[in-house]
Amino acid sequence: MNLKAIAKRVHKIAPSVKVEEHRGCVRLTGELDSWDAIYRCGVAAVSGKSLGVLNDIRLKGFVEEMKKPSLRDRALEGKRPDVLIVGGGIMGCALARELSRLDISVLLIEKANDVGTGASSRNDGCIHPGIDLHRGQLKLHYVLRGNAMYEGLCKELGCDFERWAQTFMFSTKWERYIIAPLMLLKGKLLGVPDMSFKTPAEMRELEPHPPKWLTGAVYMASAGVVSPYKVTIALAENAIENGAEVSLNTVAEGMELKDGRIVSVRTNRGTVYPKIVVNAAGAYSDVIAEMAGDRTFTIHPRKGTDLILDKKKAYYALSSFARSYFAPLPPEAREESHAAVGHTKGGGVMRTVDGNILVGPNAVEQPYREDTSTSLSDVMSIIRKQKVAAEELSAADVITYFSGVRAATYEEDFVVRKGIFTENVIETAGIQSPGITAAPAIACDVRDWVKEMLGAKDKKDFDPVRKHTPRLAGLSPKEREEYIRRDPAYGEIVCRCEEVSKGEIIDALDSPLKVCTVDGIKRRVRPGMGRCQGGFCSPLVVKIIAEHEGMREEDVLKGDEGSFILYGDTKKGGEADK
């Protein structure tokens, strides 16, 4: 690699940064007082000839505090799983399920109190067609395969999946005549299926409320949508049904390496001795890779915010769409044109599987891996920006919003490979957008590697179908009647906005991956996801959890440890023990 040229680019941004080669990677060290400069140095250090960028420039005064469970016990002490998966996002859970097809023991550890609480639950659930990718990228390879897998996968898992398509809308004539054919050609070269051009009249058939400026659109019929956290949970549940073990509130604290192999992994719940470690640690995947002595990349956290609109506004979009970013914005929206930041193409408008409209995301580089707080400027700029495509959008339609942190590498590609410096590690790192789409396909490759490395056999009794109760509100009255006859709790509605019954909540509490928190129940069966945002049902949900689990209401948590909702009895006048 040409280290001199890289150093020149980096020094233009920050002359004090030391640039060196380290085991085939470009390593940057030093200290700067601007995160933006650190980020730009990392970008400048990217080279096709190196293994990756190790951006170890410190941000002055910045100390990152990883959120860790306080729990300490020896529940996992001495365990010898064939495979240890670090991280319970969609990547880790897809791996756990794929590996549970093999006749091996699988342990997944996740530091939060549920799976899928990081980026996997904080994205729009888009199953991408892959048009924005490039040949040679791992992203493209896995997105095309993953996209094709989703329909069958969701059928097995009992999750909703809709191929609602995605459209890229043009506002000028020249885009229509130049960009559209180029896009269709690119699609053909990349192997993106089912792309076509649509005239404004054809678009109106598909989207009854297209923007006024529409001159044409490229229509990608292969695009789909899922509930990303439901898929993540379903993958974990099916993995458990097939023998995998999931240990929540468990964090990897260190690894013992010997002769280029991981001997053991130290956790807050004891030391584990796995044959193979798979890194699926998302925003912390570079930290885990470092622990495993196998780091060739750096994660730079990139925050994105999405807004969720009331289901009443579902007519805004029947599919997902975005305005083409090649032409300048229509004059009335031009002042917002600064809003496209970083690597996102500016997001769009999409219909979720649950029938809400989701708007966003944006993209903001930040040093924090876990800061998912929202800001007014982000929310307002997303509204103003997407108003261009969804002209009737207003702040009054918004029922809630959330942010997530993408685990981006400087190479802007996935790191999916066997260990380079450590023999028994496999990296599935940097899995950011389109990670939901890609994860099931990545998991298949990793399964084959593990099979070969361990000489494992297929498990004879693997059952790909997850046992679950369907969403009752979506059933016919007759089918619903049958459920209620079996258990009257299915006829007792707890969440009025999303029409969720007590029976469905109890089923979630009895599921293979038991998570007795208000957020856990919310992610599984939706109470609190509607327009009142849990105002009416949260006391009921707390009560149902407490009754079913035989615990006190004040011990029911919202999410992670420490997120208690109630103190003790009022009669004690607040003298309860918190």
């Binding site: 702040a395 509100a473 009647e481 209620i484 007792e492 420490g562 109630l566 009895d569 006048g573 607040g574």
Partner: protein
């Protein structure tokens, strides 16, 4: 399939009053309530002050509800609890109502409907509060449920945003239960709740009220640890540099109520932008023949006594189902925030129409004026009008010589 003349959806104070009067007017009546017990939100309103107009005495919320439950239970009204309406379909001469209950799916047919579905609270995200998503952010009604129905304390030191009545009541309630209320913050320059509540719930307990202030951000990864408050300008936007971080363990929101009209909308009922409830005539019939609206689903009231009054009228009218005729719209003129009814049906009696209205701003002295075709046909003087306090006035519209082409306007003039 059971058949009724009138089905009332919602078993709170509005639904109960509507059912009582529908039944007394001779209609075969049913009440559908999604919760386990009748009474609606009154079940958790343990403070007193209810019923001064209706019963001539001060009652606690549950007592007021109990009086109506007794009245309804003494009548041949069928009440269905834990019964949730999933679908209403308009049919010829009536409606088909589908419900889910512990007994299975229930189907009803009815000639008329009274929608008494109440209201819901605006949430933190709807007032654009930013930051993290910790435990400890509650709407005032949810906090009230935890304290009064579950008997558990949701906060030890809290900030309350919004000086709506439930927020004020909860400031007092939490203080009495041993929690500290750091302050009540109100984005408007005037309080949103009733004057009596400002005195009885804040002043009497030395709880500070910060007008023209809002909460902009919450902090805390798991449980809320602090909020950021800021002063706002005259367009209610936070003023840079006035931000202050207040350490607390809960944020309680009393930032407005939204009438619940999802069922009404599914029937094609038109909503009025000023009340966010159904647009209705003097019999509380919506824009869909046979669909009546009552209580807080129609218009968020300040007093339950008015809820009962309007619901009783709606229930009686639903039972009678007077034929509709030509209507005159009552247009909103200056000085009016919201009002009910929105039109006068000339075929229905209009000699004793109850007009409920709120003023758009504080007015020491004002004249309510109704004009028909530019001519003043009615006026009445009022003193001390405040937007949080609903006004009630009976007007004889039959004396105005209205016809289908009349232009009718209601307005308030400050003097």
């Amino acid at each position: 399939m059971k058949e009724y003349d009138v089905i009332v959806i919602g078993g709170g104070p509005a639904g109960l009053a509507a059912a009582e009067s529908a039944c007394k007017a001779g209609a075969k009546t049913a009440v559908l309530e999604r919760e386990a017990r009748l009474g609606g939100i009154l079940k958790q309103c343990v403070h007193d002050g209810f019923g001064l107009i209706r019963f001539g005495e001060k009652l606690a919320g549950p007592e007021y509800a109990e009086r109506y439950i007794d009245l309804v239970e003494a009548l041949p009204v069928d009440t269905y609890t834990l019964t949730f309406v999933t679908e209403i379909k308009k049919e010829k001469d009536g409606f088909a109502v589908t419900c889910v209950s512990r007994e299975g799916m229930l189907s009803f047919r009815t000639r008329a409907l009274v929608l008494a579905t109440g209201c819901r609270e605006r949430t933190a995200k709807q007032v654009l509060i930013q930051g993290t998503r910790p435990a400890g952010v509650f709407t005032a009604g949810t906090a009230q449920n935890f304290v009064n129905l579950m008997g558990k304390l949701p906060a030890k030191r809290c900030v309350i945003l919004g000086s709506g009545d439930i927020g004020l009541i909860m400031a007092r309630r939490l203080t009495l239960e041993g929690a500290e209320v750091e302050g009540v913050y109100e984005v408007k320059p005037e309080p949103s709740g009733l004057t009596r509540n400002i005195h009885q719930c804040l002043h009497d307990f030395d709880i500070p009220l910060h007008l023209s202030h809002t909460v902009t951000r919450v902090f805390g990864k798991d449980r809320l640890t602090a909020v950021e408050v800021a002063e706002v300008d005259d367009r209610m936007r936070p003023i840079k540099g006035t931000e202050r971080v207040v350490e607390c363990d809960a944020l309680i929101l009393s930032v407005g109520l939204i009438p619940e009209n999802e069922l009404a909308e599914s029937l094609g009922v038109k909503l009025d932008p000023s009340t966010k409830g159904p647009e209705c005539d003097q019999t509380y019939m919506s824009t869909v023949e046979g669909v009546f609206s009552a209580g807080n689903a129609l218009n968020v009231f300040d007093l339950v006594d008015y809820v009962s009054e309007c619901a009783a009228d709606a229930g009686g009218n639903a039972a009678r189902m007077l034929p509709s005729g030509e209507c005159v719209r009552l247009e909103k003129g200056k000085g009016i925030l919201s009002y009910v009814p929105h039109r006068i049906d000339l075929a229905k009696p209009s000699d004793r129409v109850v007009l409920f209205f709120r003023s758009a701003k504080d007015m020491d002295r004002a004249t309510l004026r109704i004009s028909a075709d530019g001519k003043e046909v009615y006026k009445k003087k009022f003193a001390f009008l405040r937007p949080p306090e609903m006004q009630r006035v009976e007007i004889d519209f039959s004396a105005f010589g209205l016809n289908a082409k009349s232009k009718l306007t209601v307005e308030l003039e400050e003097n």
